[in-house]
């Protein structure tokens, strides 16, 4: 590797790290708010903005193109909201419509400018799948400044964004300006997306938004660690993808970054403690052996109806056992019902429902009746 190659690699790796950190951190919020598709719509909607910005200014300065991308992406999110509010089209369909219309328009524009003899437009089509090798120093500086600003906003409004994501109604009940906060968080997501467009491209960018958060959620139980881990996963994928694609010929950087990320997601979904698929299948085995309380309580309740005047009348475990299927763990269930205050041992060593247990049983009956009606 000569010095120039090393410098390019360092630049690309740094740019990919910035992109991974911002999209990982902000994408975590999109993931938690179930707005994963929004990232996809925004990144596709950015394409016409990039081409239009170039057509209007004749410039390929990153800030100009990013501004165009950002405005188009932002208009895309507004278009989604208008469609949802003004029509009966559901949210996910509105996202699909906006994505297709904007992206199609972008492709038309892109094909249109190819016809010009002027070679200045060359390279715009690399925004489709990204071209990390074309990253210049000024690009990386622009990405870093925008990314730092977005992350700073996230840190400053941390508790507001957390509450907005967990319980927007409660946030509104505290008097927080929920709609403005929602708009701002979406704007930050748009910023995270346009940072990555040159490297990863409009088609694959949504993976950078969703995947780090999805993977990080598997390993963490609180929001701050989740966002930090997501950013770290984004950085790791960005750097690893850049290095791999620079050492292996004809391996494109953007898709390689996304592939590295995908491996991390699959491993996380399978292996993570508590939430991973392997762990869960182990735990399901334990659950299957736990006693089922409701049927035993219902039997007790039914038996107590035979003695309406004597709430202390006990019924033997043997009776309840004959009412239950042979595999039911009646004794364990009775003990657990007692722990919860729903059943109690009577003076004659039998069992009876407590008043609370009786009400609980009646409520189960009511609920079942309600479901049938």
């Amino acid at each position: 590797m000569d010095i120039f190659g090393d410098y390019t690699l360092r630049l690309v790796a740094l740019g990919s790290a910035v992109l991974g950190a911002t999209s990982g951190a902000l994408g975590s919020f999109a993931y938690l708010r179930r707005q994963s598709l929004l990232g996809d719509a925004v990144s596709h909607a950015a394409l016409p903005g990039i081409v239009l910005a170039f057509m209007l200014t004749g410039s390929k300065v990153p800030l100009v193109l990013m501004l165009g991308a950002g405005m188009a992406g932002w208009i895309g999110t507004l278009a989604v909201q208008v469609v949802v509010r003004r029509s009966r089209v559901p949210y996910d369909s509105a996202l699909g419509i906006v994505l297709a219309v904007f992206f199609g328009f972008g492709l038309v524009l892109l094909t249109h400018i190819q016809k010009f003899p002027n070679a200045a437009q060359a390279g715009l089509e690399s925004f489709l799948f990204g071209q990390a090798a074309s990253l210049l120093r000024r690009d990386v500086v622009t990405m870093a400044v925008l990314g730092a600003a977005a992350l700073l906003a996230l840190v400053l409004l941390w508790k507001e964004f957390k509450l907005l994501s967990f319980d927007p109604d409660f946030a509104a009940s505290l008097g927080l300006p929920v709609r403005r906060l929602d708009g701002l968080l979406t704007l930050l997501l748009v910023v995270a997306i346009i940072i990555g467009l040159q490297t990863v491209g409009v088609v694959l960018m949504s993976a950078m938004i969703v995947a780090p958060g999805a993977a990080a959620r598997q390993w963490t139980r609180r929001l701050a660690p989740m966002v930090a881990v997501a950013a770290a996963i984004g950085i790791f994928s960005g750097v690893t993808g850049s290095v791999l694609s620079s050492y292996i010929p004809r391996l494109p950087t953007g898709p390689t970054i996304v592939l590295v990320l995908s491996v991390i997601v699959v491993v996380s979904l399978l292996m993570a403690p508590q939430r991973g698929l392997l762990w869960r299948s182990l735990r399901l085995g334990v659950l299957r052996t736990a006693p089922d309380l409701d049927p035993v309580l219902m039997h007790l309740y039914a038996l107590s109806h035979q003695h309406p005047d004597d709430p202390d009348h006990g019924h033997s475990v043997a009776v309840i056992r004959t009412m239950s299927p042979p595999e039911a763990k009646v004794d364990a269930a009775l003990e657990q019902l007692a722990d919860r205050g729903l059943a109690r041992r009577t003076a004659d060593a039998g069992w009876a429902p407590t008043p609370i247990g009786r009400r609980e049983a009646q409520r189960i009956l009511d609920r079942e009746a309600g479901e049938e009606s």
């Binding site: 508790k159 957390k162 319980d167 509104a172 009940s173 505290l174 008097g175 139980r221 247990g357």
Partner: protein, 252 residues
């Protein structure tokens, strides 16, 4: 009650519609200070919508909500809200103490972190609902009853004069129901006003002293003894009154 009384919550001519279909029609309601009021009505009667309109979470087509005689907008921080448990995403990555601390966010202000004082308040509220040992538990690991207690604790740290709870007894275990009732009774003893969207007709006379019967329109409201009658329940619930007479109003 004299004419000049200031109501804790007053709803006037409130109409709310979703997509041209009215869910609340011309509601008038006065909630006196210090009562425990149940909002009762069949599914789709608009109970949750009424509560949300009172909180300013849904925009009415017409009508007004006043809190202690002032417009709802100027009454920020006067109402602590406990939303329906099932509307929240309990898979959110956070723990119990953090959720309870969210009740202080309105007070803490922009750009500031919650400190030791807020944490202490949150711990005290958790203690009140009997969930102290669960402070560091991820909320994804809670049972339904525990979730409900956490939401109640979050409202408690708001220390508001009015508490509005949406279906707090839905699907919770008996001990939780008792714990919630004890907390609500304590709040009432402190002179707080409590409004609860409630499902179980049987427990209305035991738990509450006032009731609003709602079925898109306000059928009747007032003290339980006057309003919670078989006739009114028939008007509210329509044909299913046979079930009602057996389970609820007969005991009044």
């Amino acid at each position: 009650m004299n004419e000049s009384q200031v109501w804790a919550l007053e709803v006037e001519d409130l109409t709310v519609a979703y997509a041209d279909k009215p869910v609340l029609w011309d509601i008038d309601l006065q909630v006196p200070k210090g009562v425990k009021m149940a909002i009762i009505g069949p599914n789709g009667a608009g109970k949750s919508t009424l509560v949300k309109a009172a909180m300013g979470l849904v925009k009415p087509v017409a009508g007004e909500v006043r809190v202690f005689g002032k417009s709802r907008e100027s009454a920020e921080g006067q109402i602590a809200y406990v939303p329906q448990r099932s509307t929240l995403s309990w898979d959110f990555p956070t723990d119990v103490i953090d959720v309870v601390t969210m009740g202080t966010y309105g007070r803490v202000g922009w750009f500031r972190r919650c400190g030791a004082a807020e944490k202490k308040e949150a711990e005290a509220a958790l203690d009140q609902v009997g969930m102290s040992e669960f402070a560091r538990r991820p909320i994804a690991a809670l049972s339904g009853g525990q979730q409900q207690r956490v939401l109640l604790a979050r409202a408690l740290v708001q220390a508001a004069p009015i508490y509005i709870l949406d279906e707090p007894f839905q699907g919770v275990d008996a001990p939780t129901e008792r714990a919630i009732i004890e907390v609500l009774d304590g709040l009432a003893d402190d002179g707080k006003t409590i409004i609860v969207v409630h499902h179980d007709l049987q427990t209305v006379p035991e738990y509450f002293d006032a009731v609003l019967l709602l079925n898109v329109r306000a059928i009747d409201s007032g003290p339980v003894g006057d309003v919670f009658t078989e006739e009114n329940l028939r008007l509210t619930f329509g044909g299913r009154v046979g079930v009602l007479a057996a389970s609820g109003a007969g005991g009044v």
